[in-house]
Symmetry: C2
Subunit: 212 residues, 2 copies
């Protein structure tokens, strides 16, 4: 593998390529050119080739790309060839919704535990997982080799919990709390700031109303 740094702009596009290629594969399509993919995905063919070439050539000149092979390779790049153990911190509405969402499991994301600090919830089951007290979080992470913690707790608690998770050896945090976490740079954080997303939407709506 080439070890030059890949820009996050490129990484951000990989899941979308992966999704479209998966759909093409399911439709039984075996090969595709960057131009055809360009038409479907509404991005330039040049960008597609440029993006893929960051990881070495996946295609064959004069032929195009083999859909299944390309799909598999992008999956590997995204780390989807291995399974990942996750825990959810915060058994509120959002935490429960994510725990119940089956599609993640199909991609190798395995929910191993769910934690909360409300005693009223302890022992309650969500899809075969019992809600556990937060005190047991660290031990659980170590014993069960948890890679990823999903933070669905209020922002006031999030920073402290993140620190504890880092101490316990977590590798990545999927952060739904509306706060920026400050963790060592070898710990990956992916933020999902829903209200930020909603504000972008209202900006674009009102911008359009004001005749732009």
């Amino acid at each position: 593998m080439d070890n030059k740094e890949i820009s996050q702009a490129v990484i951000g596009r990989l899941p979308r390529y992966f999704r479209y290629l998966g759909e093409l594969k399911d439709e039984g399509i075996e090969r595709i050119s960057s131009q055809e993919l360009s038409d479907i995905m509404k991005v330039t063919a040049s960008q597609i080739r440029q993006d893929f070439n960051n990881f070495g050539g996946f295609g064959q000149q004069g032929y195009g790309y083999k859909v299944e092979y390309l799909y598999e390779e992008i999956g590997k790049i995204l780390g989807l060839n291995k399974s990942h153990n996750l825990i959810i911190i915060g058994a509120g509405n959002l935490g429960q919704a994510l725990a119940n969402y089956m599609n993640f499991e199909r991609r190798g994301f395995l929910f191993k535990g769910i934690f909360d600090n409300d005693p009223a919830l302890y022992g309650r089951k969500i899809r075969s997982l019992e809600i556990q007290p937060m005190e047991e979080m660290e031990t659980f992470v170590r014993v069960n080799e948890i890679d990823i913690a999903v933070l669905t707790i209020p922002k006031t608690e999030a920073v402290g919990v993140a620190e504890r998770l880092v101490q316990a050896g977590i590798r990545g945090i999927w952060n739904f709390a509306h706060v920026d976490l400050n963790v060592p740079k070898d710990i990956q954080v992916e933020n999902v700031h829903l209200s930020d997303s909603l504000m972008k939407l209202t900006y674009n709506i009102s911008r359009f109303e004001n005749g732009d």
Copy 2:
């Protein structure tokens, strides 16, 4: 107002400024310089000034920015001075979680209805809102002046429902379905593709493991 196009890169940063300024305001801090904000937010002071200047000068030379004023102005830019009427399409786990999330209401996002096509759910209440059949969606949008539809339905249904919403006069779609919607360009779409986000996280985790 200046009507030159503002890049989405800038727009994407506005909610974060807004959040930090809100916190500063709550702490009773009245003024701040781009350099101080830079230290807190870990972005360059130059970028902060450049970003704000897209909308005309908010600051005073030699003094800095008035926190409250800046907060209000960015709120206006983001369209948060008006309230927005929303409906949720899809009363599954995620739809219910969003309906129950109180913080949106505080910012003027008013959930007016929730729809599903499962008759077993009709009439069931989520926070004072009865789940309604999807057939009533279009009429409801028109009668209640709904701006924004939140799509929390499977991707197979999402494209068709989006078209119906556009016909009914929706202004924006907050799309949680894992599919790209194809709508007229005067209709705004903001995608929240959770699995894409999770894949970015696993990419960064595995990239780090492979000693990059």
